[in-house]
């Protein structure tokens, strides 16, 4: 049955310094508009922390994603279509803008227009929605860098249950990490399944999940259906919007804006091949701890000639198959298992994966925080420091510490292996083999994870214009707002090229 290609991303959390450059560049490109002031297709959260929107991981409250019914069949956690249809006039699971934050600006005008007075005038915050003065109680990254964490981090849904007591104890010796987030472009997207209008879809060529702005009717179920809360409601247009994986750039073979501008160069983008028949089974395995393995089992080895032959027969272009062979996502997630999906227990088969950060573990070892741990024994540290391993596991492997432990051990082994090479002058192959990686692979992993050259991090095959109605070359060099320009300036623009002619022609071909 058909093999599909899927774009994916891996973020190496060890390298994230929480600078928010990805968020800012993304926002400037995509959501710098009325109605989307509060929308961050890309955001960076401090962990432990509550996230954006607040406590989005608490699915007992938001009921996003999938669950299994009594017969073990996959169903939306928020209920079936009949229940949804009856609740369509008021979605009980919808976050309000206060769960994100009410966007604001400042009354800068007052600084200039205030009458002379004893004290300097102050620019007060005012809502970007209503224009009314705001008493700021919450905002984007309010708990950044553990700010106010005594109050906020205690609410982190990943700390619930058995972890709570221990983390509170360890919390005095606090650890901190960053979690950059975009849409997961899931293989089994619950937002798409939740949409009453059929406006949301996965692109057949690359699996990117988009909202058709013409078909969306504003029923809002995608917003509550997405467990990652990465579909947003534009309060001005009344339509849903979401991360586009920068598809116009991806089609041209360029990385997404967030990846391109990442200061830490921690993002990797590539293609994986999967068997579309295996999706339902992989998302339906009964034990949440088996979900990661099931998802890994869906991905097909592009080095297998039979897989390549079948992929080509299913219409996947040759250069895409070659790109899949060089895919950093396949290498990090499947081959080396150092990257893990975010909350696989939501059963959406997410496609943005994370290399867990070794640094919080290392710093705890090096500072001798835990008296039981020998500072020279990193593996011992990984095993004994239940935090953050179990904390990471609650985010990245449905609470199963083993995959996180394996990834951290491999990352630590890579450091040790390279240290023997540079310090001793002779790489110790035993260090690599002890974690199940051959020395040659360890070199490749080092190139990908530690060096991360641009061409290694981004292996993005271009879209095939001949396969579809829109030839991007016809639009090359054209400014999308050319006709607006003409209407404003009145005939000053060169008339020899009119983008509208091309769009009309292109639409004509499409129909």
């Amino acid at each position: 049955m058909p093999i599909r290609a899927q774009m994916g991303m891996v973020m190496n959390l060890d390298k994230c310094i929480g600078c928010h450059t990805c968020s800012v560049t993304c926002k400037n490109v995509w959501t710098n508009r009325r109605g989307t002031e509060y929308v961050w297709f890309n955001n960076v959260e401090t962990r432990p922390g509550r996230g954006y929107p607040r406590d989005w991981e608490d699915q007992d409250r938001w009921r996003g994603g999938w669950t299994l019914d009594r017969k073990g069949k996959l169903k939306l956690k928020s209920g079936g279509r009949i229940k949804k249809a009856l609740n369509i006039f008021h979605n009980p699971d919808l976050p309000t803008i206060d769960d994100f934050y009410e966007p604001w600006t400042y009354d800068y005008e007052h600084l200039i227009s205030a009458p002379s007075s004893e004290h300097q005038p102050v620019a007060r915050p005012e809502s970007q929605i209503s224009g009314e003065p705001l008493d700021l109680q919450w905002g984007p990254n309010w708990d950044d860098d553990l700010a106010g964490s005594a109050e906020h981090a205690a609410n982190d849904p990943n700390r619930r249950g058995a972890l709570e007591e221990r983390i509170r104890m360890e919390f005095e010796q606090s650890f901190m990490m960053y979690l950059p987030r975009i849409c997961e472009h899931c293989i089994n997207p619950s937002c798409v399944a939740s949409c009453p209008s059929g406006a949301m879809y996965k692109r057949e060529e690359d699996g990117i999940v988009l909202v058709d702005q013409e078909t969306c009717r504003g029923w809002r179920y995608c917003v509550s259906g997405c467990p990652y809360k990465k579909t947003y409601f534009n309060w001005d247009t009344g339509k849903a919007e979401k991360c586009t994986f920068c598809y116009p750039r991806i089609e041209a073979g360029l990385p997404t804006v967030c990846a391109e501008t990442c200061v830490g160069r921690l993002r990797h983008i590539g293609v994986v091949l999967y068997d579309s028949d295996s999706v339902v089974a992989a998302a339906s395995v009964p034990d949440e701890h088996d979900l990661l393995g099931a998802q890994l089992g869906m991905f097909l080895d592009p080095e297998d000639p039979e897989v390549r032959r079948r992929a080509e027969a299913d219409g996947i272009p040759h250069d895409w198959i070659e790109a899949a062979r060089r895919s950093p996502v396949y290498d990090l997630a499947v081959r080396w298992r150092v990257a893990l999906p975010l909350h696989p227990e939501y059963r959406t088969l997410p496609m943005v994966w994370y290399v867990p950060p070794l640094s919080p573990v290392m710093s705890l070892v090096e500072e001798g925080v835990d008296p039981d741990v020998d500072p020279g024994d990193v593996f011992g540290a990984i095993d004994q420091l239940r935090i953050p391993v179990e904390y990471l596991a609650s985010m990245l492997s449905a609470g199963d510490p083993e995959p996180v432990r394996l990834a951290l051990r491999r990352l630590a082994a890579m450091r040790a292996y390279k240290r023997t090479e540079t310090v001793d002058g002779d790489a110790d192959a035993a260090l690599a083999r002890a974690v199940g990686i051959e020395p040659e692979d360890m070199e490749l992993m080092f190139r990908q994870v530690a060096i991360g050259d641009y061409d290694d991090r981004y292996v993005i095959p271009k879209a095939h214009p001949e396969a579809g109605p829109v030839d991007p070359n016809t639009l090359q060099g054209a400014c999308g707002l050319e006709w607006v320009d003409r209407e404003i300036r009145g005939g000053e623009v060169d008339d020899s090229f009119d983008l509208r002619d091309h769009i009309v022609r292109v639409e004509g071909q499409a129909r």
Binding site: H90, L94, T96, P196, R217, G218, F233, G238, A467, P469
Partner: protein, 239 residues
């Protein structure tokens, strides 16, 4: 038969229907982007929960009541054994329940739109017009229902209903509307205005009831034109 009667009961209905039909075709073709519920639940959820649910379910019940009272002739209901008294009880209980729900819902919706700044800023001029027309329509409708039960002045099954059905025969029986209670006349005419404005307002979302939702596979794929469409990955078995 005065000129104003011809205007209200022969010209207005057909003009409204023409605006309704042509307007919808036009809007559907040129303005998909603004065809939406334009929900404000993101901005205010607590009051919407009561207002929106009461209004919409009340409106469904009211529409059902109108079908029963206006489209179905009295002789038909007699034929299936619903006599005048039984009909009266059904229409009184159902009509008043639906009317109270619609009026309560609309009151909450208008109140939150007027009083809550976030919701107010999303309100367009057309919203104001439609809300005003809706308010007059439901209040006059409620008044008709009450008058029908406490006085003997309405008799809509003998005047408005036959006239309404005569519109479909393209032979409007304007005379039947002679002497109809003025509240009922106002109700009828306001509703025609509402129909005329319908395609140009947020009311268009009523035609977006997601019927296809119940047939389609949960996860949808879209490919470029010309490429074969594979069956949805999730079609087999997921619900």
């Amino acid at each position: 038969m005065a000129a104003w009667q011809v205007m209200l009961y022969a010209v207005l209905p057909y003009a409204a229907v023409a605006a309704f039909v042509v307007g919808h075709i036009w809007r559907y073709r040129v303005d998909q982007y603004r065809w939406t519920t334009r929900s404000t639940q993101m901005l205010e959820s607590r009051w919407l929960r009561y207002g929106s649910v009461a209004f919409h379910y009340g409106a469904f019940a009211a529409i059902g009541g109108h079908v029963l009272g206006i489209l179905i002739p009295a002789s038909w209901t007699d034929a299936v054994g619903i006599d005048e008294d039984a009909y009266h009880v059904i229409s009184a209980v159902g009509g008043i329940t639906a009317g109270v729900a619609v009026i309560a819902g609309l009151t909450i919706l208008v109140w939150r739109r007027a009083r809550i700044a976030r919701v107010r800023v999303t309100t367009t001029r057309m919203d104001v017009v439609v809300f005003a027309l809706l308010a007059v329509a439901v209040i006059s409708g409620m008044a008709v229902t009450i008058l029908n039960n406490v006085t003997d002045t309405i008799h809509y099954r003998e005047n408005v209903a036959p006239w309404f059905r005569s519109l479909f025969a393209l032979d409007p029986d304007v005379r039947t509307m002679d002497g109809v209670h003025w509240v009922l006349q106002a109700h009828v005419s306001i509703v025609w205005l509402l129909y005329a404005l319908w395609p140009f307002s947020r009311l268009v979302h009523a035609w977006s009831i997601p019927v296809d939702w119940f047939r389609r596979s949960p996860v949808l794929f879209r490919g470029r034109a010309g490429r074969p469409r594979h069956a949805s990955a999730a079609r087999s078995g997921v619900r």
